[in-house]
């Protein structure tokens, strides 16, 4: 099947229908996965898929039909127009954009899909052997996945954008048990299709495995407020949860009170705090040339010198707020309409060294690595996979994993030191509504937060 041929036909067909805006997405993808549980390979499989959707805006309402069958496209367009007509009860808002015709390659030397399964399996066998060198291990999980996707975006204004994208992800976890107690340590990596990025990880994986066993003997942090130092990986999750989601304008644009809370110029942190999101930042898992509305990617400052200076937009949210679109409308697949999402989100580096950051902490927590994070806008949580007590300026022994919690209106203000060692993590997938996991990256230097709430015994 050649989706370009289908795309050309749809482009012609769109001209026959009337609405404020009509767009189509068509995708073709191939992917493979390999899973290990314990010492054995558990599952290996290959998938292929093709599908598309028609999205229509009319009088402010949206219609959307998605499909796997490419038969009878004209009636699907008609159906989406009818849905939009039924949903519409005002005027359509859509930021202006010139039609774009472009073809973008995946920009990789070797497509991960073309690497033989045997080669992928050999690497994972090596990693599993490293994991199982550790004594007292109970079980382990390795999940490898790769994919390659060709997408075509077509709109009624004349855009026709073909983009390719490849993705690689690797998650590992080691589980230790001493009877009733079970502890685990994990790693999570990804790349924009570059398989070499998940090679040569033997030493890190050995450390992970040993940590799982060490956690069995680790004590639990006592719950309460602490001075907390976050490593770049966890600080990346922190910035994604604490501020990234609040910057997504679809939470804001139709809510007057939320717009007041998020007035540009408002002070959210100290002068040293700068937060950026952008798919234009190259070669990261959240990078692309055009978003799923055909808008060119940008790099957007969300916070500059502690002040709110920007936010993430789709064409609709940008028009409603009288701002420029930022190229942040993304969909996990053709089964969903694009919504406002993050891409590569990070705190820009400052000047503190890690040594200086911990030097004057009497009692604190050094939290590293991540299990996950979630937000409700005002309050958020993010969980560390590794934690250490800091006593009198020195890093102490390993503690059980901790969950940290913050409030966006105080926690960002409480960041009092920002390191000089920015690092990006590409192992995460972001979930919003039903759409998960979306490839993103996030990062930060080491940061220090005063009075951070830590859950515990």
């Amino acid at each position: 099947m050649d989706i370009e041929v289908i795309g050309r036909k749809i482009a012609e067909e769109l001209k026959k229908h009337k609405a404020d805006h009509i767009e189509a997405h068509i995708q073709q993808s191939v992917s493979s996965h390999i899973t290990y549980r314990g010492k054995k390979l558990e599952s290996i499989g290959k998938s292929s898929g093709a599908g598309g959707n028609i999205r229509v805006q009319l009088n402010g309402g949206w219609g959307f039909t998605s499909f796997n069958s490419f038969e009878d496209i004209p009636s699907r367009i008609e159906m989406a127009v009818e849905q939009a007509r039924l949903a519409g009860n005002g005027r359509s808002w859509l930021a202006k954009k010139a039609p774009v015709v472009d073809k973008v390659s995946a920009g990789i030397k070797v497509n991960p899909i073309d690497i033989p399964l045997s080669e992928k399996k050999n690497l994972l066998d090596e990693y599993n052997a490293v994991i199982w060198k550790t004594p007292k291990l109970q079980t382990s999980v390795i999940g490898y996945g790769d994919g390659y996707r060709k997408s075509i975006f077509i709109d009624s204004a004349g855009s026709f954008i073909q983009q390719e994208r490849a993705d690689v992800s690797l998650r590992l976890s080691a589980v230790a048990s001493d009877g009733s107690d079970v502890q685990q340590a994990n790693m999570s990596l990804g790349s924009l299709g570059d398989f070499s990025r998940i090679q040569n990880l033997h030493a890190e994986i050995a450390d992970m495995s040993k940590r799982a066993v060490a956690l069995l003997a680790a004590p639990q942090v006592k719950g309460g407020e602490y001075t907390v130092v976050l490593d770049p990986v966890l600080a990346g999750v922190f910035v994604h949860e604490a501020f990234g989601h609040l910057s997504e304008s679809d939470f804001v644009y139709e809510n007057e009170r939320m717009r007041e809370v998020m007035t540009l110029g408002k002070q959210f942190g100290g002068k040293h705090l700068n937060i950026v999101d952008g798919a234009l930042v190259p070669n990261l898992r959240g990078s692309y040339k055009y978003d799923d509305e055909g808008v060119a990617a940008t790099k957007t400052y969300l916070i500059k010198e502690g002040k709110l200076v920007g936010r993430l937009h789709s064409r609709e949210t940008a028009a409603r707020m009288g701002e420029k679109p930022t190229g942040n409308a993304r969909a996990v697949s053709y089964r969903y309409p694009p919504i406002v999402r993050m891409t590569n989100t990070y705190i820009e580096p400052g000047s503190s060294s890690f040594k200086d950051m911990i030097a004057d902490i009497k009692e604190g927590v050094y939290a590293k690595n991540w299990y996950g994070g979630t937000t409700s806008m005002e309050m958020f949580t993010f969980s560390a996979a590794e934690a250490y007590m800091i006593k009198n300026g020195k890093i102490g022994g390993l503690m059980r994993p901790v969950v940290l919690s913050g409030n966006v209106f105080s926690t960002l203000q409480n960041i009092d030191a920002i390191g000089n060692d920015l690092d990006m993590n590409e192992g995460g997938g972001c979930g919003k509504g039903e759409q998960s996991p979306l490839p993103v990256s996030n990062g930060s230097p080491h940061i220090r937060i005063q009075n951070c709430l830590v859950g515990g015994a």
Partner: protein, 433 residues
């Protein structure tokens, strides 16, 4: 499908084709107004083969793509796990009622008015709240055929309603939400609205807890957010087989408080988690997991059961890959205590309606720790107001060992959990302040 099976049989000892087709029609309201009407058609076919004793697997959205499906399955079978099970032979299944043609017949206009009614009811109570609402009707059809001659299919209809409200005052944000789903059309919004209005009433005032140990009542929603996912992983036969379940050696032992009972049940009529057979064609059943605090069974698919020397419990589920055990629907039967009696028993404590981030720690070990996104301070038996910037932490196995009371207020949370309120006498609470 038959073509895929025929071609696969030529190259493999045994083969199975599983296919899903679905039509979903969601209607969504944003900022109090109708915004999206959608229809989603999808189909997917998955081929599992056993070749030279090993499992191969491929999946495609194009069921006519027979050659590629078979080729990919053969390619992966070279490295696949050794198959320890046999596919089921022809089986007669007991009927489970999960399809009501009336779901598909609900007109869009009716769905729109249900959404409007929910929003009007919530805004009638709290004028400044901004609502999102969703009404959806879906029809899913599953079919399985295998080389042993088993052939089975069913269709399921699902109707769901949901509403979320956000109330923002300065930098104070309150989120309330509730939803319901069924295999039959839902026409009465009262159940959902009563719960949302109660959330709004109880959160009207603000209250502050203190950092210490105190009694906590998890409402059904609260239990779903904090306690259930560790249990689901602990009863998963695969976790048990690997020795990673804290309950692995606990069958027949009184591990939990004797008031606790849990079932897995895929045979309840008109529930979204029900079906006549699982994704491998194994007949559905009701499996007791905990009776009077004593674990009795774990949940298995074919391969895991074979490796563990057990029988499949009809819990083979596919999330896009090979079947793997997971719960059909977790049922925690109600106890005898009313919610008001639980409240009356508490001098100082919390009611937790939603614990955010609780599932993101060491879930396997049962540890949970989360931010009380929606929860209330209890003082002298009365709800005092909403708490914020408060964390509740614990370990599921310690917490459920000593339960003060189980509520008589059990209800469905989403499609896959039926739970009452659970009153726990002593949990660790940390408060910013």
């Amino acid at each position: 499908m038959q073509r895929i099976l025929e071609q696969a049989k030529k190259v493999a000892e045994s083969a199975e084709v599983f296919s899903v087709t679905s039509e979903e029609t969601p209607v969504q309201f944003e900022a109090d107004r109708l915004k999206h009407i959608q229809s989603k058609q999808s189909c997917v076919a998955a081929l599992r083969i056993i070749k030279n004793g090993r499992i191969g697997y491929s999946v495609s959205t194009d069921p006519d793509d027979v050659d590629n499906l078979v080729r990919a399955a053969v390619e992966t079978a070279e490295f696949g796990m050794k198959a320890e099970f046999e596919l089921p032979s022809p089986t007669t299944y007991k009927k489970v009622n999960i399809y009501d043609p009336k779901v598909d017949e609900v007109p869009l206009g009716k769905m729109i008015s249900l959404g409007e009614e929910m929003i009007a009811a919530v805004k009638g109570h709290t004028r400044d709240i901004i609502c999102e609402a969703g009404v959806s009707k879906d029809v899913v059809s599953i079919s399985i055929i295998n080389s042993l001659g088993n052939s089975a299919e069913y269709s399921k209809s699902i109707f769901s309603l949901g509403i979320e409200g956000s109330l923002i005052r300065g930098t104070d944000m309150l989120f309330v939400a509730e939803g319901e789903s069924s295999c039959r059309p839902l026409t009465n919004i009262k159940g959902i609205i009563d719960i949302v209005l109660k959330q709004l009433d109880w959160a009207k005032e603000q209250a502050t807890a203190t950092t210490k140990k105190m009694p906590v009542i998890f409402t059904a929603n609260g239990a779903a957010s904090a306690l259930i996912s560790p249990l689901m992983s602990a009863f998963n036969g695969k976790t048990v087989l690997e020795g990673a379940s804290p309950l692995g050696d606990s069958l027949g032992k009184p591990v939990f408080d004797n008031k606790l009972n849990i079932f897995d049940d895929a045979t309840i009529d008109y529930r979204p988690g029900s079906h006549p057979f699982d994704d491998e064609g194994i007949a559905s059943r009701r499996t007791p997991l905990v009776e009077n605090g004593v674990p009795l069974n774990f949940l298995y698919d074919l391969q895991t059961a074979a490796l563990a020397g057990k029988q499949s419990t009809g819990n083979g589920h596919r999330g896009g890959g090979l079947p793997s055990p997971s719960a059909n629907a977790f049922i925690i039967p109600p106890g005898e205590t009313s919610f008001d009696d639980m409240l009356a028993d508490i001098k100082e404590g919390l009611v937790v309606e939603y614990l955010m981030g609780a599932g993101q720690g060491n879930v396997l070990g049962g540890d949970f720790s989360g931010n009380v996104l929606l929860g209330y301070k209890v003082e002298n038996g009365k709800i005092k107001g909403r708490v914020k910037d408060t964390m509740v932490s614990g370990n599921v196995y310690k917490v459920l060992k000593e339960i003060a009371a189980i509520g008589n207020d059990a209800r469905w949370i989403g499609g896959f959990l039926y739970s009452p309120s659970i009153y726990c006498p002593n949990l660790s609470v940390s408060v910013k302040g």
